[in-house]
Amino acid sequence: MSGQRIAALFRRVVLEIRRDRPSLALLFIAPVLVTGLVAFILREGQAPTVDAVIVNEAGAPGEALGTALGAAIVAGGGSATEAPDEATARSMIEAGTATVAVRFPSDLATAQSPTITVITDGLDPAGDATQLAALQRAMQSVLGSALGSKSPTITHETLYGTPSDDPLTNYAPALVGFFVYFFVYLLTGVSFLRERTGGTLERLLATPVARGEIVAGYTLGFGLFAAFQVAVMVAWALGTIEVPAIGPLPAFSIGLGIDVAGSPLLAYLVVVLLAIGAVSLGIFLSTFARTELQVIQFIPLVIVPQVLLSGVLFPLASLPEVIRPISAIMPLTYAVDGLRQVFVRGADLSVEALQLDLAVLVGFAVFFATIASLTIRRDVA
């Protein structure tokens, strides 16, 4: 052991890191940014607005309870309206004019334990949970005085899917979208960086190849593998292969076997569009990286915020008002929503929400491809 040699090594390491300014910046900025964002969402996150529609099938006793409940919801910052029957209430949720419906049964006053039904759209489990919690608080304050000793049970129904379902149904879309986005970005970012640093881009630009052709070629090449990846992910998520018991081996099944309401092909389309956008994003961001390490360091800046803000972890409705515009400009937001529309709601191409998601994803792909081809010349050699 030589103290001098160790000191020399120590100095060299410190010098290297000090000169790698992007790494240095990210070393401090990225953790502060990400933890700050999480803290902000958790602290400033809004109790979601409850826009309730009340369906009273119980006559006068329900009337009193409905009025009291409505007042409690409005006091909590929400709104309450009435609907003549459950079908109307459901169509209001579907149209987005109400977030939750409450139905008082006809036996509200007579049964010892009447069943009050609460209906949400069921697209986003975390969002539904916050709706239910808010509604429950409002109910607790009025139920005692209105119903006396009776203890009603509250059941939860959803417009799409059934609430008792596998929780994976709701999380799988987010996970499929996220992983495809993440890996495609990482692969293209690093590959294109190699093209820049290995001198091949310099040479390529000295051929008649146009920048747009480079982006198109990359998109097709990586798009092909992304398409395979998506196919495997979707098949894995939706499929189940039952393997019978063979000899001493017990029977088992392969695949997550999630029940999907819509067409797997539509889900596939959503993710492939997301992946195509990610290819160009990788090319674009490789402009700002000099080493592969730096491509990886962009993850906390470009990937993690999307996970936090696109509805993968936190429901969009609970995000603080100020950062909601940010989630509106993230491709993953639309992919996750599009996948939930297909998986949970069973949306087909006639559903407006899905049309919007697809259109925005196409827009992002075109936008990223354009800026990617515009920045290809930067920093060559």
């Binding site: 290995g198 001198g199 091949t200 310099e202 040479r203 390529l204 630009l205 000295a206 051929t207 008649p208 190849v209 146009a210 060559v380 050699a381």
Partner: protein
């Protein structure tokens, strides 16, 4: 067809394959190329000679259209650079190998042939043959030696038989025997009418060029054949001649 269609261009000497007029490239305060005006004729080998950092590579990048000049203009085969269409008639061997290490030698040459729009499939084989790599055609480039990769890089620059060829330090890391072969290829191509610009900081290669351009601080400080430059400097040594023409003067701006 090769170099003759430059006759369509206007200018003082229509025969020039490459023309630079007051070419300047600045990177912030640094004048990488500082007012170069030259005309290079077809069928000749030109040597860009100068120390590292004298602006040789930047000059080549301006002439190939990879960099945009701060001032002045560059023309290749009568076409103002940068121009994407004329690039199919220019060959450029970069200072780094610029080949894909995961592909085989033949796949590399084939890829660049396709980008140049070469349809003739035998072009790949003959380019590999030219650089003596025919027997390694199927080898993964990453497994080739440094010299072999340099040859492959040359093959990629030659595969479309360009009438104008820029070679940035082509012989670095190439053994002496192969170096002789390289230069005989260059001569054959020039005899066929090609204009070849070779950059080097190795003076002993200079006498293989028809004409030399001494480059210092982004300017051409002298031009002529090796013998001519030596005679004008009154020395038998090119390095001394380089110093004589101002190669030692640090021009401050």
């Amino acid at each position: 067809m090769e170099a003759n269609d430059t006759s369509a261009s206007t200018g003082p000497s229509p025969a020039a394959a490459i023309r630079a007029d007051g070419l300047v490239k600045r990177f912030g305060p640094i004048h990488a190329v500082d007012g170069v005006t030259v005309e290079l004729a077809p069928g000749r080998i030109y040597g860009l000679l100068g120390p590292n950092g004298s602006g040789k590579t930047t000059l080549i990048r301006l002439l190939t259209g990879l960099a945009r000049p701060t001032a002045g203009r560059a023309e290749v085969l009568g076409v103002s650079m940068p121009s994407r269409t004329i690039l199919s008639r220019i060959g450029y061997m970069t200072q780094s190998d610029g080949v894909y290490t995961a592909l085989t030698a033949a796949e590399n040459v084939g890829f660049f042939a396709a980008t140049y729009g070469v349809r003739d499939r035998s072009a790949v084989a003959s380019a590999l043959d030219l650089v003596d790599l025919a027997d390694r055609a199927g080898s993964i480039t990453g497994t080739l030696s440094g010299g072999q990769r340099r040859r492959l890089s040359l093959a990629c620059a030659l595969v479309h038989r360009p009438p104008v060829l820029f070679l940035d330090e082509p012989t670095v890391g190439v053994d002496p025997l192969l170096r002789v072969q390289f230069w005989s290829h260059f001569r054959t191509l020039a005899d066929g009418g090609a204009t070849i610009v070779v950059s080097s900081h190795v003076m002993d290669e200079a006498d293989r060029c028809d004409e030399l351009l001494f480059i210092r601080s982004g300017t051409v400080i002298a031009r002529g054949s090796g013998d001519d430059l030596r005679a004008r400097a009154g020395t038998s040594d090119l390095e001394e001649a380089f110093l004589h023409f101002g190669g030692d003067v640090r021009v401050t701006r």
